[in-house]
């Protein structure tokens, strides 16, 4: 049942979840199936759970003059969200006019969405597993933190996450990659296949595969292959008839509220920020099926403002602000009561809430990370047939692991299907310059537009960023916006380790463009907010939208905020889940990993509720 801004203080739930994004929805669905009474408190709106309202978000996107990841998902003063477009400068003060207070020295360039469904509304849907070495970077490379669990422990939950999200991919391509990355562990189970076949490779994927066949690059005397690998992704493809989940074949899940849409990706290419047919997974799908259990209640327009703890480390309730209009005073404060509380908002919101509620742990808010993203671009001598398919369908993944990680970041290379859209605003910018600078018109304009756009190659380098305590989220009780919301304060800096990774990335880019016979056109200007100079070379990084850290997991209260089940150290019934718990970023887009962790937590939470039942039974 979905309600807006109602009072639930009279009811008692087994589990109260703060945030209706992917982590919260996966946990709600599992617990709902197990028969537990679950409440989700969502700060933002929920109306797009209805098909026709979702379509209205699409209209917002079409009509936006500048298209950013949040353009279909309007800002809401009671539940403010950052926007990529807030970052306009290298001067921290200039970047602090939106929701975040950016303290620098480098800007944090990512954003998230405070609407039901969370950032999966505007994500690309890339679903790579982390590699086993990513779980032990401290031990293996002397960098960052170690995880309190091994890849092996998480593997079954990766499989479950791939089912819940619905992944299209070719497992043999991943196995081959595993060999290139020197993975000794069983990365994918022997009999395992993905629920759906891979999304067909794009024209540019095929072109790169061919041109780069057998090619490699050398770092510190080691040769690394430049093989192109298809990307497992969260969008509907052709179901794999060999796939079974608990004995059942996979059925693609269509649009929420309209089962006749979205059973296959048809290549609209607007995945970021919005898939018009919902062939791309969003947490709305999981929420929809969670509601079907009859045990899950969603209350939207309910911003949780405080966690109330008794004197014995037990959370009693959370306080939430239920707002009815866009007026700052138009709200009521209510409480929600449950046995277990799960913070499942974005890492920034989870950290903010714990800091405000004086949860006792010095590490809250620390180790904020992202995947700094280095865009490079070039022009191929031949027409490539681009601007087709999802934003990306393949990558060069073979540089995600190696001995070099002792000295510098690893990276993956995302092959873009949409030309210079991200780096230069193509095709619109190209047309502008042809018309206004080169005075092209008529047939010549059509031909040049086609020629200029169809030769564009964009390779995005997604860099690992190790955890550092100085990169952090804090709050200051005096720093509130006009609605009384505390503004997150962000301290952020790229370390030399990551910048050295950027240097290697740029070298790799030049090598790749030369293998492709393409003209490299990358140029970074010092007015770019992400501009960096290092060893006399220039770089400019963007954000990947991958907020990580803030409540990292570890082996004790001395090195972490949560344990491996994401339970907050020192509290009996408080969990903080999501990307905030990741101690390392690795080079996998993090959503799949956060989903696997959430499913592991769901199982643990259910077990502990069951145990409690038994205990009560004995007491009687």
């Amino acid at each position: 049942m979905i309600n807006e801004c109602i009072d639930v203080s009279e009811k008692e739930f087994d589990v109260v979840i703060v945030g209706g994004g992917i982590a919260g929805s996966l946990i709600a669905k599992q617990l709902g199936i197990y028969g537990k009474k679950v409440l989700i408190l969502e700060a933002g709106e929920s109306k797009h759970m209805k098909y026709l309202d979702y379509q209205r978000n699409l209209d917002l996107y079409y009509s936006a003059s500048v298209k950013s990841p949040n353009s279909p998902f309007s800002s809401n003063s009671h539940a403010p969200q950052p926007d990529e477009l807030d970052v306009i400068s290298k001067i921290p003060y200039m970047n602090s006019k939106g929701y975040f207070i950016q303290m620098g020295p480098t800007p944090y360039r990512s954003d998230y969405t405070r609407h039901l469904g969370g950032a999966t509304l505007h994500w690309l849907g890339t679903c790579l597993r982390m590699i086993p070495d990513d779980f032990k970077t401290k031990t293996k490379f002397g960098v960052g933190l170690d995880w309190p669990l091994t890849y092996e422990e998480l593997r079954p939950y990766y499989e479950q996450a791939e089912y819940e999200i619905g992944i299209s991919g070719e497992v043999n391509d991943q196995r081959e990659l595993g060999q290139l990355l020197n993975i000794k562990e069983e990365w994918f189970g022997k009999e395992y296949v993905f629920p759906m076949h891979k999304i067909p490779e794009s024209n540019i994927d095929k072109y790169l595969s061919k041109q780069l066949e057998g090619k490699s690059i050398t770092f510190q005397g080691h040769q690394y292959s430049l093989k192109v690998t298809s990307t497992p992704q969260a969008r509907n493809g052709i179901p794999n008839m060999k796939y079974r989940y608990r004995g059942e074949p996979y059925k693609p899940v269509g649009a929420v509220g309209n089962d006749f849409q979205g059973k296959r990706c048809v290549g609209y290419s607007s995945c970021v920020p919005i898939c018009p047919i919902q062939a791309k997974y969003s947490a709305l799908k999981t929420l929809d099926s969670a509601l079907k259990s009859g045990n899950v209640t969603i209350v939207s327009k309910a911003v949780v403002t405080e966690i109330k703890v008794d004197g014995f480390g037990k959370v009693e309730k959370v306080v939430y602000k239920a707002y009815t209009s866009n007026n700052p005073n138009d709200f009521s404060l209510y409480t929600a009561v449950g046995k277990i509380f799960v913070l499942a908002a974005n890492p920034v919101e989870n950290s903010k809430l714990m800091l405000k509620s004086l949860i006792k742990n010095d590490l809250i808010g620390k180790y904020l990370m992202d995947h700094p993203f280095l865009l490079t671009w070039g022009l191929s001598p031949q027409l490539l047939g681009i601007f087709k398919g999802p934003g990306s369908t393949s990558g060069i993944e073979s540089l995600r692991n190696g001995k070099f990680r002792e000295h510098r970041s690893a990276f993956r290379i995302e092959i873009g299907n949409l030309g210079w859209l991200w780096s230069n605003g193509a095709p619109y910018s190209i047309i502008n310059s042809l018309v206004f600078e080169k005075n092209n018109s008529g047939k010549k304009l059509r031909e040049s537009t086609y020629d200029m756009n169809q030769r564009q190659i964009q390779l995005g380098f997604m860099l690992e960023q190790p955890a550092e305590a100085t990169n952090r989220i804090t709050i200051d009780r005096r720093e509130k916006d006009s609605f009384g919301n505390l503004r997150p304060i962000i301290n952020y800096k790229l370390s030399e380790y990551t910048i050295k990774g950027m240097e290697a990335a740029k070298q790799t880019a030049s090598t790749l463009y030369s293998y492709l016979g393409a003209k490299e056109c990358t140029s970074y200007t010092d007015d770019d907010p992400g501009f960096i100079q290092y060893n006399n070379n220039s770089y400019a990084f963007s954000g990947a939208g991958h907020f990580m850290g803030g409540h990292v997991m570890g082996t004790s209260i001395h090195n972490s905020v949560v344990d491996k089940y994401q339970k907050v150290w020192g509290y009996k019934n408080l969990f903080a889940v999501g990307c905030g718990s990741l101690p390392t970023t690795g080079t996998a887009n993090p959503t799949l990993t956060l989903a696997a962790l959430a499913l592991m937590s769901a199982k643990w939470i259910n077990n502990s509720l069951e145990k409690e039942k038994i205990t009560i039974g004995v007491d009687k």
Binding site: K50, Y51, M241, G254, G257, F260
Partner: protein, 341 residues
């Protein structure tokens, strides 16, 4: 399953059954162009709810074609879609009698109350007690449900009579698996025996022609209920497809000549060219589906691409103005392969 049925008077042999199943394929196909044309005539960005509702019906009709093809293949028949004789021409007379005691006639026409009323006739259900056990050989069927019910009886009869193994003797590799079907509108059913054949027929009847709550295997409003909502947006009797009341703007529709013919486009060069291109695409599509349902299911991937091209071509046609505020429209005429250049 073990129901004892006698031979339906209308279907006296397995060959006749195969012919009836091919007629079923033709009837299912005949509904698609009229639904598409009514969608094409909606002005851009208007009547989005109606457009989506009609689209959901179209994808299910496509599924029905595939299910019928699977049944034909399962009993060793040949589904035919590459022959002019099997492709509906408009106005198309469905061999089903309406309440007015006339054969049901389907037109290619603009989105309008009249068009939706015809759609309701196509999708109307017959209460179970009005479906005759044995329709006399020289009388038309009273409803599509009755038509399928007769086919069902024949399937059961021959299955019981000559044995499942002998009757369901088709090449299983010709079955269209869920893998090859687009999924929207449901999943294909692989037909290998009587049980799966019955499931396939029930799914067709159930998705299309249900008026009440009863359902074998399908959730959500039937085609009849969906069209009923377009015609009666505010009625208490309407089942809401999207969970919210919809609005219909009957005036935000392009006018087209009912049942347009390519021959009438002769004196308009651009129009004639585009109309021919459309019909060639349509014919290529039907030929490819024919190939796909006759042993090469992987060809369906190519069909998907043509379906998108078909929509784009239709949109181009609809942009061409004719006299008196009328617009051009696709004519859905099958062109023999030799005449396609």
């Amino acid at each position: 399953m073990s129901k004892i049925v006698s031979l339906p008077p209308k279907i006296q042999s397995i060959d006749e059954l195969k012919n009836y199943l091919n007629l079923a394929l033709e009837i299912e196909l005949s509904t698609i162009p009229p639904y598409l044309v009514s969608m094409y005539t909606l002005e851009p960005d208007t009547n989005k709810e109606s457009l989506e509702i009609i689209r959901t019906v179209v994808v299910e009709e496509m599924l029905h074609m595939l299910l019928v093809a699977n049944i034909i293949n399962a009993i060793g028949g040949t589904p035919v879609l590459n022959n002019k004789e099997n492709i509906p021409k408009y106005p198309y007379e469905v061999p089903i009698k309406t309440k007015k005691n006339e054969l049901l006639k389907i037109n290619l026409q603009s989105f309008s109350r009249e068009a939706i009323e015809t759609f309701l006739e196509i999708e109307k259900n017959t209460p179970l007690d009005e479906i005759r056990e044995s329709v006399p050989r020289d009388e038309p069927f009273n409803s599509i449900a009755e038509f399928y019910s007769t086919i069902l009886d024949a399937l059961i009869y021959f299955n019981n009579h000559i044995g499942e193994g002998n009757f369901f003797c088709g090449d299983p590799t010709k079955q269209i698996h869920p893998e090859y079907y687009y999924n929207s509108g449901g999943t294909s059913i692989i037909v290998t025996d009587l049980e799966s054949a019955i499931n396939a027929i029930n799914l067709i009847i159930d998705q299309g022609h249900r008026e009440d709550e009863s359902s074998f295997c399908h959730e959500g409003p039937s085609h009849y209920q969906r069209f009923f909502e377009i015609l009666n947006t505010n009625s208490e009797d309407s089942k809401s497809f999207f969970g919210d009341r919809i609005t219909v703007k009957w005036d935000k529709v392009y006018k087209i000549y009912t049942n347009p013919k390519h021959i009438n486009y002769k004196n308009h060069e651009e129009l004639e060219k585009k109309s021919k291109e459309f019909n060639i695409l349509y014919s290529n599509l039907l030929d490819l589906i024919h190939i796909a349902i006759n042993g090469k299911p992987e060809v369906f991937n190519e069909c998907n691409i043509i379906m998108f091209s078909l929509r784009n071509k239709a949109t181009e046609l609809m942009k061409i103005p004719l006299e008196d505020n009328f617009r051009a429209a696709p004519t859905f005429e099958y062109i023999e392969e030799s005449n396609r250049k």
